[in-house]
Symmetry: C2
Amino acid sequence: MNANDETVKASADDRDEGQTLALRLWIALARAHNAVQAHAADDVARHGLTVTEFAVLEALFHKGPMLLGEVQRRILVSSGGITWLVDRLEKRGLVERRPCPGDRRARLAALTPDGEALIRGIFPEHAARIKAALSGLGKKEKREAIRLLRALAEGAAAAPGGDGG
Amino acid sequence: MNANDETVKASADDRDEGQTLALRLWIALARAHNAVQAHAADDVARHGLTVTEFAVLEALFHKGPMLLGEVQRRILVSSGGITWLVDRLEKRGLVERRPCPGDRRARLAALTPDGEALIRGIFPEHAARIKAALSGLGKKEKREAIRLLRALAEGAAAAPGGDGG
DNA sequence: GGGCAGTATCTCAGAACTGAGAAATATACC
DNA sequence: GGTATATTTCTCAGTTCTGAGATACTGCCC
């Protein structure tokens, strides 16, 4: 149910125009992501964290202990990546691994008291920083952008190839 | 000149709501970027290229020979990154370095005939693939998304910290 | 024409991953 | 119960990049 006018009648010009538009959108998406990511990275670096490390702590803070695999899917890293991340956070005493009751293959990642104190302390400031980085859009525009980006992600997941086909 | 209603009167609730909205937007942005990037990566991988390598070839294809620094700023990598990328493409015979007339510090990157033939051959299909990945939005929505993403990127660049303050 | 800040690229150590495959366990079917 | 397949995490080699500092040159000012 996409409002896809170009499927009705597609001349060569229409196709070119549609492709140009798509490429422009892809570039705009990449640049916006990059610009916001720079702010996020800059902010969490003050606490010696990377954006993905922060994402792990934040997930555990808001959802409680989770299977490594759940965290992995949530923050979009590979299986090797989540092992590496949790190793790193465990060495710093921010996260611990616990056995998963009922499944001896799996392990839960959970915040330690230190980890919880850290994320509790830095999360509000981080959220404020993200909000500031996104201040180019008003509330209404943000809501519209969220709607469009979600439709974009769903469409991409549904398209053949990539990671969703 | 941002349509920023929340600057008028900001109760604690308003602030929380604004932050929640901002965080949701940040997540939607990251997921959309990731989903589209997966398609782009999957497509160029068929020719043994990464997304950034493709971006270098595409820049040189559409703009002609460029200073390494120009390419670097265009595709958003570090100085070490662009050296590494051009090295790699040069080894594969797709790109060559040329001296820059009038500045002996600088070097131009330019497509070789092989490189031009490659990008000319794969660009149309890649553009079609990107268009397919972005088919979750209609033309009108794409235009609106581009407008919002550009405003987002500008706002982020203008905000203190990150890479634009 | 010598010093000096500024700019462009390169070098290099190492960060932050990826992806394939191994090991351990779970689940389903005969 | 036994075999096959799937799932979950871990290991490890290799890839793709970053950031700091080195090197080479430019252009300005005295």
